[in-house]
């Protein structure tokens, strides 16, 4: 039995199909989860994909955080369920207080879409265990509100406890504090990432296959 990974679809989710494809590429089964349904259908992990959840005319992710499916995701995450939030998913996780900090408008006040060099700094999470510590990868980034912010003490704590999962290299695309591209919770099971690993699983349609590691990390552990 391949591991079952749930992919949440909010009405404004955009990268849910891509995330599901990446899950299948990694040998797992992608289970669609609907925003209005509290059931997680016994999945072994959940991905919150990119997009604009409920339009995000308020703060990105601010409404999604109160959706029926998030009730279950929050409870399960606190019980240790692996959760990966990508872009809008990262925003939702911060709004839900599963992750510290917040994501603000890009420093340049423009949407930015580019191939981005990252360094994977924490390989202890279920989503990054397949990478080498310090591995440099190229993964697309595309967002309007991707500037990661937190107070100094939180940032110090994230760094000292190794909870910075990935950092931007070769130019910070959105003004994120300390070049942070992704963080995890204290237990390490919840990871938020601004870049889109699901768009880097096939050299035909992305910059390469560097992103596949996030999904293989999970299936490798579960298999």
């Amino acid at each position: 039995m391949p591991p079952r990974i749930g992919v949440v679809t909010f009405p404004g989710s955009l990268d849910d199909r891509d995330a599901a494809r990446a899950v299948r590429f990694a040998g797992a089964e992608a289970v669609p989860l609907w925003h209005a349904d509290t059931s997680l259908h016994d999945v072994e992990a959940v991905i919150l994909p990119g997009g604009f959840s409920y339009g995000d005319y308020l703060r990105a992710g601010a409404i999604a955080r109160f959706s029926p499916v998030m009730e279950s995701v929050i409870a399960a995450a606190n019980d240790g369920l692996p959760v990966l939030g990508i872009c809008n998913g990262f925003q939702v996780l911060c709004e839900a207080h599963l992750l510290p900090g917040a994501l603000q408008g890009n420093a340049a006040r423009r949407f930015v879409c580019k191939e981005q060099l990252l360094r994977i700094e924490n390989t202890a999470t279920p989503w990054t265990s397949g990478y080498r510590p310090g591995q440099e990868v190229v993964i697309p980034i595309k967002n309007m509100d991707g500037c990661y912010v937190a107070d100094e003490r939180t940032l110090d704590e994230l760094e000292s406890s190794g909870r910075v999962v990935a950092r931007y290299l070769d130019g910070n695309p959105n003004g994120s504090y300390r070049d942070i591209a992704g963080v995890c919770n204290a237990a390490g099971n919840v990871v938020g990432l601004m870049p889109h690993p699901e768009h880097a699983i096939d050299a035909l349609t992305g910059p390469g296959t560097d992103g596949l590691g996030f999904f293989l990390s999970f299936t490798g552990v579960a298999a």
Partner: protein
């Protein structure tokens, strides 16, 4: 309760001499007289609203339709067209049971008035056109023209337009895979924003805009109707009936991309369950257009209770509701048996759906407002039988002068150092410079099927999303390629040739990626049709495009005409933007632009002549426009396309890039920079280095051929009779572009010049 201000059919019959503001609504005396003749009485104000918008230039094509007929009359014989011109968008059979629909449309004037919303709703409108055909929209492109890059107003218009396109398209989750951006003073107060959308469906999933079957329900769904985009209708509400407090409403529509995203998913689920008889989006002319067109194309009649339309602003009058261009609305014809299932899908997506009428066989479109008859007209008279004009046509008085002053005397670079400086100047020209400041604001990755995106020669989308096993197609995955092109300077010099040049370039761009060109869409941007010299430009361009499509064997599937693009009496450069769609059997075989194979041999395909009329060199170095544009040889284009497609399929080339503005020099720079690879170039013996580097002769491409394939490739060119010249070699370790015997320039210097022009203008 009777409404004293309501203009009913009964009241119209009783008050034949009641003055009506038809002129303010843009109607001519004889058009108004014709409406009276059709109805046998004066129109009610609601009917006047309908006729005025449906007979507008924008909706009726009254100045252009007599000429656009050529696209049908001269259409090449083809069996790939599943739906031709006249529907919301044409549909093309691309094989394996896949059908593709694509179209390009202008939103020029709104984008000048309010750049963000104008451009955003331009994207929204074209996406709904594609959705209406039953297709899932899968990509967008944009063809943009602005005033001079350094003009102050460009600093207002361009960032707004780009943010609007991105803000809407990104939120819909549609990859933006290509387009163009050009700058010229001629567009200063009249930018062009042409948006293209392409959609994919199975061939048995095509939907049409017709209201068939008496008794079937007319359902309005999506956003509520508001006061945006009404424009002229306030004339009706205030001037005719002296209602107090004239309303000043925004005439540019406001977009809500989230509402459209939800509407797309809702419609696709409705289509999958086969729940509609017909469907139409609400775009220009809103409810007026949807009701008259659906009825006219179907059984012929429709009864509507207009007060049932859900409103965002409850004070709207019926005339305003009919003319509102509120976005994100659709109208479907649904059988009574399917109505519950239809509304259930809408409820799942939280989309408001309301039955507002019924299909009839009366041949009349009848509308009531709280029980009183306000519209009773034959729908075909509004939707199909609008006025047709044969506008006066006259060759511009200055045409010969422009053609004769061909710029032969313009100083040219005479030595290597001057050529080098010219190259840096051309590369940094706003028209040729790096556009990533713009395109990095668009999501090109979403959906995970983007095989090629800008700045590649054409955008390419994989049709199969990779979720199904590919075994049944032998492991290959079909894809489509798209390119848009248009050169206003060429078209100004010779509109017949200019349109053919735009077609030829889009066709060549598609073939350069390895895809076979199949079909054409167009957006014809011109000045006022009431100016005989503009009409001459227009008719020449249409004739050129129709002839060209026939010669290339690619049918026109649909398009859009945008007139009145001018400031005062000065029209824009005539700008036909041509989109070409192609198909590739296996996307893994696509050809990229970048130089990437060390030691691969560079071949220049085609003939180079001394052609500088309308060139980027003349424009950027001398600010000059005169002479004649490059010649077009469509037989040569077909041959070149064949070679590029076969070479891609058989793995004979590692890269290909078409030659256009800036000539060979600019093509080499782009391919070097894209691959981060140096190249050593030896210009053909006996050639004038300036002409070889900067001429804009068409029908050319530069390809890189791995040494192992050189004999096969050159044999193929020889057998087919395509001229080719070996002009150099790729050197991955070299950090220069070296034009031997002339100059050497570091890629770093080229990249700096190419990158800074637009980025610096809009920094930070």
């Amino acid at each position: 309760m009777s409404d004293p201000n309501l203009d009913t059919v009964e009241r119209a019959a009783r008050t034949p001499d009641h003055p009506q503001p038809f002129a303010e609504l843009g109607m001519k005396d004889d058009e108004y007289a014709r409406v009276r003749e059709i109805l046998g009485r004066r129109p009610t104000s609601s009917e006047l609203a309908i006729y005025s918008v449906m007979w507008s230039e924008h909706c009726s094509y009254k100045s252009s339709s007599a000429h656009l007929k050529q696209f049908a009359d001269k259409a090449p014989k083809t069996d790939i067209l599943l739906v031709g011109m006249g529907e919301n968008a044409g549909v093309v059979d691309v094989g394996d049971g896949w059908a593709v629909t694509f179209k390009i449309e202008s939103h020029n004037h709104p984008s000048y008035v309010e750049p963000y919303q104008g451009a955003a709703t331009g994207v929204g409108g074209i996406v709904r056109d594609i959705l209406t055909m039953g297709a899932r929209p899968v990509a967008v492109m944009d063809s943009l023209r602005f005033g001079r890059l350094d003009a102050p107003d460009t600093g207002r218009v361009l960032p707004g337009v780009v943010a609007g396109i991105g803000g809407y398209g990104n939120c819909l989750g549609l990859p933006n895979i290509g387009g163009e951006v050009y700058f010229d003073e001629a567009y200063a107060a009249n930018p062009l924003v042409n948006a293209l959308c392409v959609g994919v469906m199975r061939t048995d999933g095509i939907k049409l805009a017709k209201a068939d079957g008496p008794g079937n329900k007319v359902v309005l769904f999506g956003a509520r109707t508001g006061g945006d985009g009404i424009g002229g209708a306030s004339v009706l509400a205030s001037a005719t009936f002296e209602t107090e407090g004239e309303t000043k409403r925004p005439s540019v529509q406001v977009g809500d991309p989230f509402a459209e995203k939800v509407l797309i998913e809702c419609c696709l689920e409705i289509f999958a369950a086969d729940l509609v008889v017909g469907i139409q989006d609400l775009g220009a002319a809103g409810l007026s257009c949807a009701t008259t067109e659906l009825a006219a194309a179907g059984t012929g009649g429709m009864d509507v209770d207009l007060e049932l339309a859900p409103l965002r602003d409850p004070t709207l009058r019926p005339e305003e509701i009919l003319m509102s261009e509120s976005q994100e609305r659709m109208m479907a014809i649904v059988t009574p048996e399917h109505l519950d299932a239809f509304t259930a899908v809408c409820a799942k997506w939280d989309v408001t759906a309301t039955v507002i009428g019924t299909v009839t066989d009366t041949g009349r479109l009848r509308m009531r407002w709280h029980g009183e008859q306000i519209v009773d007209l034959p729908p075909r008279t509004a939707a199909q039988d609008g006025p047709v004009y044969q506008r006066p046509i006259e060759r511009p008085y200055d045409q010969d002068v422009i053609n004769q002053h061909d710029g032969r005397d313009l100083p040219r670079p005479r030595n290597g150092e001057e050529l080098r400086r010219t190259l840096l100047q051309v590369v940094a020209s706003p028209n040729l410079a790096d556009k990533s400041w713009i395109t990095d604001q668009y999501d090109r990755f979403v959906m995970g099927n983007t095989v090629l995106a800008q700045p590649e020669d054409a955008g390419m989308i994989r049709l199969d999303d990779g979720s199904a096993p590919t075994g049944d197609t032998g492991g290959t995955v079909r894809g489509i390629a798209l390119s848009t092109d248009g050169n206003g300077r060429y078209t100004r010099l010779d509109p017949y040739t200019g349109a053919r040049l735009a077609l030829a370039e889009a066709y060549r761009n598609v073939a350069t990626t390895g895809a076979r060109p199949l079909a054409v869409t167009n957006c014809l941007n011109f000045g006022s049709p009431e100016d005989p010299s503009v009409m001459w430009q227009f008719t020449e361009a249409v004739r050129g495009l129709a002839d060209g499509c026939l010669e290339l064997g690619v049918p026109v599937t649909g398009g859009n005409v945008s007139f009145y693009n001018q400031t005062g009496s000065t029209p824009i450069l005539p700008t036909p933007v041509i989109g070409v769609l192609g198909v590739i059997d296996d996307v893994a075989r696509r050809t990229k632009q970048a130089f990437g194979t060390d030691g691969a041999l560079l071949y220049l395909l085609g003939d180079t002549r001394e052609e500088f009329g309308g060139s980027e060199w003349a424009h950027v170095v001398h600010g000059y426009l005169g002479g004649l544009p490059p010649q077009v040889d469509l037989d040569r284009e077909r041959l070149l396309a064949d070679i590029l497609i076969n070479a891609s399929r058989d793995g004979l080339i590692d890269s290909a890039h078409d030659l256009s503005e800036g000539g060979l020099a600019h093509a080499l720079v782009e391919a070097c920079l894209r691959g981060g690879a140096g190249a050593r170039i030896v210009l053909p013996e006996g050639s004038d280095p300036f002409v070889a580097l900067f001429s804009e002769s068409t029908g050319r491409a530069v390809v890189s051929v791995p040494r192992s394939e050189e004999v096969r490739f050159t044999d193929m060119c020889t057998a087919r009779g395509l001229p080719r010249a070996r002009i150099g070699v790729i050197d991955l370790l070299d950090t220069d572009l070296d034009v031997q015997g002339q100059f050497r320039v570091p890629l770093r210097e080229l990249r700096a010049a190419w990158r800074s022009t637009i980025a610096d203008r809009f920094a930070p």
